[in-house]
């Protein structure tokens, strides 16, 4: 059990945390979501076929858990005290250097259906085929969301849209 936990943590924790943070925008909730994902995995909820499937399952489950938390009545009545939304990008520790925090901030402000494909495509370097598998959507849908999401990012950057969207 400990061996399995160690493997999961080493292999996926950082990436899943980034994905959870891109949805939750605060550290504590992101960590909770990742932990819940691992718990579901350990309980054997995942019918894993191979490593790629395992990865896709973990990402998909993390996103679903985040969305469930965001939709919950409890969450919607609370306000995070530990981090301000404007510094969200600073809390995503990518394994490479990016020079443009503003664009990442804009991506994090997108509605969920644009944010997840864009974040996975650009910041986690997944292909459209992989994202379609992870999000259980058609490749054409992902392409459309990437294109429309990009237009939204441009709008946010030019208009300085500060409205927080779940």
């Amino acid at each position: 059990m400990e061996q399995k936990w160690g493997y999961l943590a080493d292999e996926y924790r950082a990436m899943l945390y980034r994905i959870a943070f891109s949805n939750m925008k605060n550290r504590a909730d992101a960590e909770d979501a990742v932990q819940e994902t691992f718990l579901r995995y350990m309980k054997g909820d995942a019918p894993i076929q191979n490593k790629e499937h395992e990865k896709a399952w973990l990402i998909r489950t993390t996103i679903h858990i985040c969305l469930d938390i965001l939709k919950s009545g409890w969450y919607q009545r609370t306000v995070s005290l530990d981090e301000s939304f404007t510094s969200a990008a600073k809390n995503i520790y990518l394994p490479y250097q990016i020079r443009d925090d503003l664009t990442l901030e804009a991506v994090l402000r997108l509605p969920t259906h644009y944010r997840n494909p864009i974040y996975l495509f650009y910041y986690e370097d997944y292909t459209i085929h992989e994202i379609a598998g992870i999000l259980n959507e058609k490749e054409g849908t992902i392409k459309t969301r990437l294109r429309r999401g990009r237009e939204e990012v441009k709008k946010i950057l030019t208009e300085g849209n500060t409205e927080r969207r779940p």
Partner: protein
Amino acid sequence: MSIQEVQGAKEAPAYQKKKKTGGGEGFQESLLQNLRSRENEEETTADSAQGGKRTKEPSETARIGVTGSVRVNAAMLTEAVQTVKVRHMRYEESDHVEIAVTEGYTLKGKRLDDAEDAVREQHEDMTDVSEYNAAEGQNRSRVYVEAKYEDGRVEAYQVDVGRVSDNTDHMIERFALETVREA
């Protein structure tokens, strides 16, 4: 990956007309047929692609499951920029990354250090130091650049930075120069 493999760009295999078959078995048979013919084509074009001379467009092998051909943007090719086989390099492996969300592409760059090792191995018995330095220097100035576009295309280039002007406005050349500075 050695420099020989990078230079060994292979032709994007032509679409093979599938045999009309019915049911799941037929599909599998047709798939195997296509794979076999693709392998044959790769073998026959391998020799012509050796020696760094780009004769044909490369093929792309997708990371998971599927294989797709790549439409190479001819406008990207210059004297210094050649298309090569896509490695599917990860961000973590890259020396330099550019994420252009508003433009719809990402770029990953890596100096071809493994190519230097290959040169060392090939020229172990080389006594002429200047010849060795020239060979090594030539490889040191090469950068592998992988571009991924919003429409799903993935293209890979090898850039001979020695031939790139410092004030180039060519996207791939400029990025290769930045990669050398970052590495």
